[in-house]
């Protein structure tokens, strides 16, 4: 055991050594997300900025793809992080897992370079195979799709085989079943059709059933583990909540898919089904808030890792407001007719992805750096503890600022462009030129810079937190060992 406060991989188990590699790439991609987001935001204010060099479409694609991939890397890292701890045995097939990490990372680098340097191709299938699929969120070319499936299958093998060899906890069981769905769903978005209604129909199977179903369950598992680790919450309570969350998340989220089927050519019955089930989607998120806040209060906020706990509480609220409230606000077809395809969606997207997903990955990275430094003290009166608090504060102020600014712009678009001007191109530009919209873009930019400042501080903190700490971590009472399921 190395001295406290020194980064030393001897402090980590095999799965965790792999996890910190994933986390490192995740944070680098988080930086890329912020950078390209700033560039795209600037182009709303200065349309000639980088015109013809890095057009809005490229920046926006990189902004969103960097996010999808950094969150995936973060999730994979988080699962490797808890794997040996939960299962009680070393990761099965770890060497293969390590190899796949490098394959995955190199593939991501290659895709990003092609996005930046090649950008677009001729209107042929080979462009879709080699350059860019041109389908929002899953733009990665087809060769990379196949690579992603292979990587995820190896990851799945690591996880499933390790739990099967060791013990299958409740968290482990939910996780394995969720990963089956997660990997399987991706293939729904991997084929070409000239029929755009059919295309978007299956495309939503990937996007919605990932983001609003399987990802939510995955973070439910991560949150459950995190609460046990940081506060010693009883496993029986955590796992009961996890089952409640799964029932409610899948019960509302699977048919909630229908809220993407209002206007793409799909039948009218989706208006009722999608409206009804997506209106239920906030319910499990309320359950997650109650669960996290109740547990934190019950344990009097005494945790082994205050930054991680703070980010988990942020996750509970961010998920509820970003995904739940902001989603519900425009999910019923009667309002969605006017908000679909406006900045309203961007407002929801920003707060939801940050609140539900970025937060939990950040919490796990804090868990990781703590143990990486020899399980140092990360509770109250931390040396240099202002940094994580200010990072958390600035990131939230920036995110809420962007969310509100985009929401104002979205309201304005719904009213001016859609309701009054009748949704044509003239109406679109009348809406875009309106002072309320323009002011929204300015405030989004100011908030974006605030967020970026918070990110820089976060990155600095993750590299330095616990460095000068000589106290060992606070121990919390673990009341029971994981039960066999």
């Amino acid at each position: 055991m190395a001295a406290l406060g020194i980064l030393d991989s001897a402090n980590l188990n095999g799965g965790q050594k792999l996890a910190v590699k994933y986390f490192t790439v995740a944070i680098a991609l988080f930086a890329a997300q912020v950078l390209f987001g700033l560039l795209a935001g600037l182009q709303y204010l200065y349309p000639d900025f980088l015109y013809g060099v890095l057009d809005f479409s490229v920046n926006r694609m990189l902004h969103i793809n960097a996010m999808v991939v950094w969150l995936l890397f973060g999730f994979i890292g988080a699962v490797y992080w808890l794997l040996e701890d939960e299962s009680g045995v070393p990761v099965v097939g770890l060497a293969l897992g390590n190899l796949i990490f490098w394959v995955f990372t190199l593939a991501v680098v290659a895709v990003v370079l092609v996005y930046l340097l090649v950008q677009v191709g001729p209107g042929e299938l080979k462009s879709i195979w080699l350059i860019n699929e041109g389908r929002e969120y899953i733009e990665a070319p087809r060769w990379a799709d196949i690579g992603i499936v292979v990587c995820v299958l190896v990851f799945f093998y690591n996880v499933a085989a390790t739990f099967m060899k060791g013990r299958f906890t409740g968290i482990g069981g939910v996780l394995v079943l969720d990963l089956v769905a997660l990997a399987g769903l991706y293939t729904a978005g991997m084929w070409y059709t000239p029929n755009i209604s059919m295309d978007q129909h299956w495309w939503w199977w990937v996007i919605h059933l990932w983001v609003e179903a399987t990802w939510e369950v995955l973070v439910g598992c991560l949150l459950a583990y995190g609460l046990i680790k940081t506060m010693g919450v009883r496993r029986k309570i955590v796992e009961t909540w996890l089952y409640i969350e799964v029932a409610l998340l899948f019960g509302s989220g699977i048919l909630g898919l229908g809220h993407h089927y209002f206007w793409i050519g799909t039948p009218e019955y989706w208006l009722a089904i999608g409206g009804f089930f997506s209106a239920l989607e906030p319910i499990p998120l309320v359950a997650m808030v109650v669960h996290a806040v109740f547990d934190a209060g019950h344990h009097k906020l005494k945790s082994t890792n205050n930054p991680a706990l703070a980010w988990m509480i942020a996750q509970a609220f961010g998920n509820f407001f970003g995904a739940g409230v902001w989603g519900f606000m425009h999910t019923l077809p009667q309002i969605n007719l006017y908000t679909h395809g406006t900045q309203w969606t961007a407002s929801h997207g920003h707060l939801a992805f940050f609140g539900a997903y970025a937060t939990i990955v950040i919490a796990f990275v804090y868990l990781a750096v703590q143990k990486w430094r020899g399980n140092v003290w990360m509770s109250g009166e931390l040396v240099g503890g202002w940094k994580w608090k200010w990072a958390l504060f600035l990131l939230h102020v920036g995110m809420l600022g962007m969310t509100m600014a985009l929401l104002v712009a979205g309201y304005e678009q719904s009213q001016i462009e859609r309701a009054i001007e009748g949704s044509g191109w003239m109406g679109y530009f009348a809406g875009q030129a309106h002072p309320w919209f323009q002011q929204g873009m300015v405030w989004r930019m100011i908030s974006g810079w605030t967020f970026a400042a918070g990110f820089v501080l976060l990155a600095w903190d993750l590299m330095t937190i616990g460095k000068r700490e000589s106290r060992p971590a606070r121990s919390v009472e673990m009341r029971e060992a994981p039960a066999m399921a």
């Binding site: 694609m61 677009v120 209107g123 409740g170 070409y192 209002f262 989706w270 395809g341 530009f429």
Partner: protein, 217 residues
């Protein structure tokens, strides 16, 4: 919460069963609906028309019964003056769709309302009055797609970049956009005022001079 006996509705085993049954039931309903939906959105049906619909006039007209606008397929009005067979039309629309993907249209525009919000929605772009008149629309669209950089866009200074779209790709893209405008989208976009496509009476004067030669967006 002092009792040691957990109530049945708060027990782990109850919720584990609930999680499994609710998930399975939702998935079964979704799969059942998916079969129906896929059948109904296959090209050639009532909601998503055959590709050869591009041989016809496509309008977007208020329907009293459904209480929103619906696409209406009108008389023969072939694209670029040429009537295509279903197979030829499919190839052309497909080429256009591939072009929209390869040129990453969706990361500025929305199609069927999905995509990015930096540029206008393309769902009904074929019917947009900004093209001026239905006679010049096809060629204006092709010219615009091939090099938008020097064309008039809007007062904001936001411009579409030149994406290396060939004439063949531009024509195919127009075909794809025309076909897309015929999809029944349950009234999205609402309140849309389509370009005037009525047949001009013989004595009617040519379009007014102030109609811009390029899309006056």
């Amino acid at each position: 919460m002092s009792q040691t006996q957990t109530l049945w509705w708060a027990s782990e085993s109850f919720w584990k069963k609930m999680a499994i049954w609710i998930t399975a039931a939702s998935a079964v309903v979704l799969i059942f609906l998916t079969f129906d939906t896929v059948a109904k959105i296959t090209a050639g049906g009532k909601r998503v028309p055959a590709y050869s619909v591009i041989n016809h006039r496509i309008d977007y007209v208020f329907d009293e019964k459904r209480n929103h606008q619906v696409p209406v397929i009108g008389p023969v009005e072939p694209l670029f003056g040429k009537v295509l067979s279903e197979a030829e039309a499919k190839d052309l629309v497909s080429k256009g769709k591939l072009t929209t993907q390869a040129k990453n249209c969706m990361n500025c525009h929305t199609l069927l309302g999905n995509g990015a919000y930096f540029a206008p929605d393309l769902t009904k772009s074929w019917l947009d009055p900004a093209w001026g008149s239905k006679e010049v629309r096809e060629q204006l669209m092709v010219d615009f797609l091939m090099d938008p950089s020097d064309k008039l866009h809007n007062a904001l200074g936001r411009r579409m970049p030149k994406l290396g779209i060939t004439e063949e790709e531009a024509r195919a893209t127009v075909a794809f956009l025309k076909w897309m405008s015929a999809i029944d989208t349950n009234g999205f976009p609402a309140n849309f005022k389509p370009i005037d496509q009525a047949d001009a009476a013989p004595e009617t004067a040519p379009p007014p001079v102030e109609s811009a030669p390029v899309p006056a967006l």
